[in-house]
Amino acid sequence: MAPSRTSTVKSKHASKHAANKTGIRNSKTASKPTNDGVSKPKSANSKRTTSKGAPQKIKGTSHLATLKKKRRVYTEKELGIPALNMITPIGVEKPKGRKKGKVFVDDRESMMTILAMVNADKEGQIESKMMKARQMEEIREARKREAEAKVAMRKEKLDETKDGLRKKRKRSTGDNGGEEKRESTKSDAMAGTRPLKLKKKTVSFA
């Protein structure tokens, strides 16, 4: 917005100067150097131009109106520019347009709204706590079950090995002597040291 405005103002000045130069050549104002006009305040210049002719008068008034609008000078306060061109800390800067001092809450409605907000907040917190506790409980239960299952498996394995060992012992004390004898004869036959008694002689016709 701002740059476009400035450009329009410039163009108006240019047109004004052009009109002066072309329209009133012999007048005193025309003979004056252009620098002089620039140095003078612009409002005076515009007044002079309006006093010249009737058709220009209408134009001049409209210009004046627009110029007056454009010319609005903003004070530093209005712009909100800091007095010194430096960064002001957040805590130091005071908010504009707000009441100075404390704002009390004494009416029922505002107290109710605050209470409702706080209550909702607390409800949410309690709810989330309960959810968390429930989840933790579930996890704990699952872990407990897993641990129990593991213990049971280990016990089963231990029992199996125990049983196995017991059986082995029984074998070694009862049946093991006969078996060993049988095994020894077999091994002798394989080695060829003793002929096998079990083999029968047979006759075959070619």
């Binding site: 009390f104 109710m112 607390k122």
Partner: protein, 188 residues
Amino acid sequence: MRPLTEEETQTLFAKLANYTGNSLKNLIAPIDNSPNGDRYVFRLQAQRCYYVRLSLANLATSIAKDKLLSLGICLGKFTKSGKFRLHITALPILAEHARYKVWVKANGEMPFLYGGHILKAHVGRWSEDCPEHQGVVVYSMNDTPLGFGVTARSTQEARRLDPTGITVFRQADCGEYLRDEDTLFATS
């Protein structure tokens, strides 16, 4: 003496809501339905927050600030850092609107009133589904409020706890009326 600011009201309600449920709104409900009827308000005097009837608070304005010792029910005091600390004097209000409760057996009453935490062995009954670190009001077995505290464990976890384990951390108990007699009502 002055009303509370927005922030102060919020911290106060947040603290009260730790112990009470939704019925807290009854605290500021008007006593009668007439348009200019009396109601309860909160007033701050020498860092202490009082729960007073509006008519009484208005009357109290005629007493000089430094001469006014107490009015209405003292709920607690605002610390210099802006937090709020509940006093045992707020117990009647908390007990009326309590959300979670713990009942202490007769053998646990004295240890609690002497400033001890509540052990599992001393708990007679407790509210179900109470989460961890939640404000609770402590009652004796015949429903007399004894004080208030904060749960150390949730109800489910507390069941597994051994009898000597702490279930509720004490925040305030009626024994303070005697133990803190000098400082409880003195403003300086």
